[in-house]
Symmetry: C2
Subunit: 362 residues, 2 copies
């Protein structure tokens, strides 16, 4: 047994377990126990399928589950309604009824698309998440957000739909490109900043081994991250309040992603820089002392993440893009800031001139 | 005040009221009280908009609610994902945020499409149903089923999404074509058959005046129908059990619609004939006496509904189409039948030879 952690996401009749550990895909029952009917459809992409699809099909074959496979092209540009239709075509053409289960094998894009297809096929069918990137293991595997992009905006079309279970196998991280490992680590560090000063400290101590992909430490980091997110989501499933603290660094980060052209900065990279900006602005309000900022910059740097916003972006450009962000309420930009290390707040009550200083100097 | 009935659909935090009465669209607050933000998008079609759109816009203007309008072409063939995208384009292009409200003004097709757009825009926004046909007032205004068709199957793509309120204005029935009034009455009669023998008897007494569009009697019939459906849906929101009794006549009816080409028989007409077949099969099992069948045939006939299946359809054709219906479980066709007038059951425990007789002789 290599199962290191099992975590329950507590959402009444939509509760589900997250399994975290090494070589979990070889434990066939982790998947097959969560397939209620006798059929399934695996959705993966051209990068991940050659590496891990065999392990999923072996599990399904071991339990005599009939299955079909949809292999998407790899990339955020395929996260569209057209791709969802492609999955639904496969479901209907192969007569999968409402008892079938979708299995998402891949990173966040595959998970978001597949979860959304599951949310809307015959008004909702079961699905299982097998996230294969650090980012998707610590972020999109908890919370039930599914969806696709619209040409005029990211994640504009979607649904809340919870999986039957999530299997985060750290073995799949062995093949992850370095840059994507770092991008995932940005979200891990985020959980320390917003909710858990001890975890932040633990990360400071273990960051080099984590970046060397020590599987035990990675399991531990994924577990704490998922648990933190699960606790927050259990309080506020539909993001009407507290859940928004999970967006620390995201408003600044989205502006960077958007200005630099999506895909040039990875999401986690932009969030890393955005978190530095949020910490900087919090410090300018004297809510936190200057040590928090230097520690944040150091930890992110050790995770090989960028800590300065692109030189070519002006404060005005930031403001213009942030003004059309989803978090704007009645014209005021709400930001997630820190009131201390390990505790975030959502506020529109910050000083405009300090924000300008942050935009200028970060 | 012309508000005759208010009914609460009891679904915990997704509960909502249904307002039933004459000239309700002129009571602006019935709509505006249920718009939480300061903007809205009205979705209607080319048939209904010229008749009633003005009344909705007057209501919105009275409360200074900014709005846009999407006018769809009229017809089931436009109940597609492409039409949903058209609504979403309008939402994004006009910068409607997640606090906007969609208003569906029209029959079941407009309601299904609009409700689904509301379900998936930014992972779910509010919507209000203003059903303008008898069928949509008694059927789709309760239960939260939304969705669109796929080229290979009806309602294959959708979501459960509850409205903020439903406004069933009997004034809008004044312009309804006779054939559609009858089709709606088929579903009204269904509620008597499956759940309420007293209501069935009341319908027998009042059917001529109902067909003459007596607004008080129509309000009463709509109220009892919605209440019956609401009671059933409150027990089983996601149709895992009892809710399926609402499909009395629908398995046979879908087979007729499918065989005759969608649109040639109206849904309600096919359901009427399907209910006669279900009653006939129940009688052949001696669960009900022969009076129930003759009374059903007579009541449906007085509502100008067909009570015999198309002569050109063979029993084999019925069986072939019914075998691919959504209600098939592990190869067995489950049917909704009557154990007595006013009480339905869902069963796979009927005699195959009696089913053959029903298919042959109805």
């Amino acid at each position: 047994m290599n199962l290191k952690h099992q975590l329950n996401v507590d959402l009444a009749d939509r509760s589900y377990p997250i399994f975290i550990g090494h070589n979990l895909l070889q434990q066939h029952n982790l998947i097959t126990d969560y397939i209620k009917g006798s059929s399934a459809v695996i959705v993966s992409n051209t990068t991940v399928a050659p590496l891990y699809l065999d392990q999923i099909t072996a599990a399904l074959n071991s339990a005599n589950i009939r299955f079909d496979t949809v292999i998407l092209q790899d990339g955020e540009q395929f996260k569209t309604l057209a791709t969802v239709e492609q999955i639904i075509d496969t479901l209907i053409e192969n007569r999968h009824d409402r008892k079938t289960t979708l299995i998402a094998l891949g990173g966040g894009v595959v998970g978001d698309i597949t979860g959304f297809a599951a949310a809307i096929y015959q008004r909702g069918i079961n699905f299982i998440q097998v996230p294969t990137t650090l980012l998707s293991q610590v972020d999109s595997s908890v919370g039930g957000k599914t969806g696709v992009n619209h040409p005029l905006g990211k994640n504009m079309i979607g649904a809340f739909h919870q999986p039957q279970c999530v299997i985060a196998d750290t073995q799949t991280l062995a093949t992850l490109p370095d840059r994507e490992l770092s991008a995932g680590m940005a979200e891990v560090i985020k959980y320390g900043l917003i909710h858990d000063a001890d975890f932040f400290h633990w990360l400071e101590k273990n960051i080099s081994q984590l970046m060397q992909r020590d599987t035990n430490l990675l399991s531990e980091a994924i577990h704490v991250s998922c648990k933190t997110k699960a606790d927050i989501v259990a309080i506020d499933e539909k993001e009407s309040g507290i859940r928004a603290i999970l967006n620390l660094g995201h408003t600044f980060g989205h502006a960077i992603e958007s200005a630099m052209g999506y895909g040039n900065w990875l999401h986690g990279e932009a969030v890393a820089t955005g978190m530095v900006m949020a910490v900087d602005l919090s410090e300018r309000h004297q809510w936190i002392d200057d040590q928090v900022k230097s520690r944040t910059v150091e930890l992110l740097s050790k995770a090989n993440l960028p800590v300065k916003s692109p030189g070519e972006m002006s404060p005005q450009q930031f403001m213009n893009i942030m003004a059309i962000d989803k978090k704007v309420d009645q014209g005021v930009i709400k930001l997630v800031l820190l009131e201390k290390l390990g505790k975030a707040l959502i506020t529109a009550d910050y000083q405009a001139d300090l924000l300008q200083q942050t935009l200028k100097e970060c």
